[in-house]
């Protein structure tokens, strides 16, 4: 197990593995996401209360799930950076932070668009919406801090500490709707019970969520590969790779 863990730390090894997995991630991710979204937007039945306007859930929920999951993954990487000083963990944090920012923004934006016709307001300072906005600022802070420090190693450690400080926000986002009175409704998907949603609605939603996670995997590999090439540009294997035309 430890051998695998140490191998994972080698940028060259990761570069090869990522190149092999990427087409599969892209194809399966696109397939599931397109299937889920088309099914959800065009074929799923409309809601008894909200009619067609609930359909934005097929974009809102996958984006919000991913926004939080990316942060949790970044937090695990931050622990690896601080304890094992593994370069690849920092490459991951640096590569996916902007992706997390975009998905957090997307979930806030689709939430606002959904809130206007259903609740009657674009924005309200309830615990769920506010904690999600804090997540957006955390992503922004991580990116800014990383850009602000020139030295690669100090940047990696500072960013890792910031990521770990912010991870407290994740359970707050998740449980805000249970701990406090909020305008946002509680979770439809629960860990222990079956979803409080009709089957013909939650199946396309789950497809869209899985598809987006796979696509995220593809994008993370792509961005990490770019970051590895920049960092390792002086090494022999990168030079050989470039001379061979990237094959």
């Amino acid at each position: 197990m430890w051998q695998f863990f140490h191998k994972l730390g080698s940028p060259k090894w990761f570069y090869g593995i990522a190149t092999r997995f990427m087409p599969w991630l892209l194809a399966s991710g696109l397939l599931l996401l397109v299937a889920g979204i088309v099914w959800g937007l065009a074929f799923a039945p409309k809601d008894y209360l909200q009619g067609n306007s609930y359909r934005i859930i097929f974009i809102h929920v996958p984006a919000a799930f991913l926004a939080q999951s990316i942060y949790i993954m970044m937090a695990f990487s931050a622990v690896v950076t601080l304890v094992w000083r593994m370069k690849l963990a920092d490459v991951f944090v640096k590569a996916v932070a902007p992706v997390g920012l975009v998905f957090t923004f997307l979930s806030l934006f689709t939430g606002a668009v959904w809130g206007k016709p259903t609740w009657g307001t674009w924005w309200v300072w309830d615990a769920r919406l506010t904690s999600m906005l804090i997540l957006l600022f955390l992503y922004g802070g991580v990116i800014a801090l990383d850009r602000a420090i020139n030295d690669e190693k100090s940047a990696a450690r500072a960013v890792a500490v910031l990521v770990l400080v912010g991870v407290v926000n994740i359970p707050i986002i998740k449980y805000s709707v249970d701990w406090w009175n909020t305008l946002h409704q509680p979770a439809t998907f629960k860990l222990t019970e079956k979803p409080s949603m009709a089957v013909e609605m939650w199946v396309p939603l789950v497809l869209a969520i899985l598809g987006l996670y796979l696509l995220f995997g593809w994008l993370a590999c792509l961005r990490m590969k770019t970051e590895i090439l920049i960092r390792e540009q002086r090494t022999r294997w990168v030079r050989d790779l470039v001379l061979a035309g990237g094959k």
Binding site: P45, W179, N181, S196
Partner: protein, 159 residues
């Protein structure tokens, strides 16, 4: 594990645990401020301040909505099934506003205990279903009620 790594891991765990406790205590102390709205029970118990802009939230009590025929004025009661608060509002209500639905109203509580709202937001729950299923559910719950009524009637007529 290498002793240095073990030490670093301990530091990291202490950092996260310490922060979690600090944030937990802070949010616990501020819980009343984080709550978006007061429930009818709190308002009825006099816990909500009078003549200060607050939010009140709960269900619109069935049969309590009275619309003015001349103006946009609406009166209704917000309930959490243990207490209810009368609300007055002048304006356009959101589409999802209906008896039995959740609402959050922003406004002031006056001295008579009436909540004068200047904004009413609709709250919906986490249940999504096709209209046919909702109809079927409603019918079956009505049928159950009817069955219960019949049982009751049978009991009372037995005497």
């Amino acid at each position: 594990m290498h002793p240095i790594r073990k030490k670093r891991l301990t530091i990291v765990l202490f950092l996260v645990a310490g922060l979690a406790i600090a944030v937990g205590l802070t949010t616990y102390a501020l819980r009343q401020n984080i709550n978006l709205f007061y429930d009818p029970t709190e308002i009825a118990a006099g816990n909500a301040p009078v003549d200060v802009r607050i939010r009140a939230g709960g269900m619109v009590e069935a049969g309590s909505v009275v619309r003015d025929t001349e103006t946009l004025k609406v009166e209704f009661k917000v309930t959490d099934f243990s207490a209810s608060v009368p609300v007055e509002y002048v304006g356009i209500l959101p589409d999802l506003f209906a008896e039995g639905q959740g609402v959050v109203a922003m406004g002031r509580l006056n001295n008579e205990g009436v909540f004068v709202a200047d904004q009413v937001l609709a709250k919906h729950d986490e249940n999504y279903m096709p209209p046919e299923v909702a109809d079927a559910l409603e019918k079956s719950s009505k049928a159950q009620n009817k069955a219960a009524d019949v049982d009751k009637a049978a009991e009372t007529t037995a005497y």
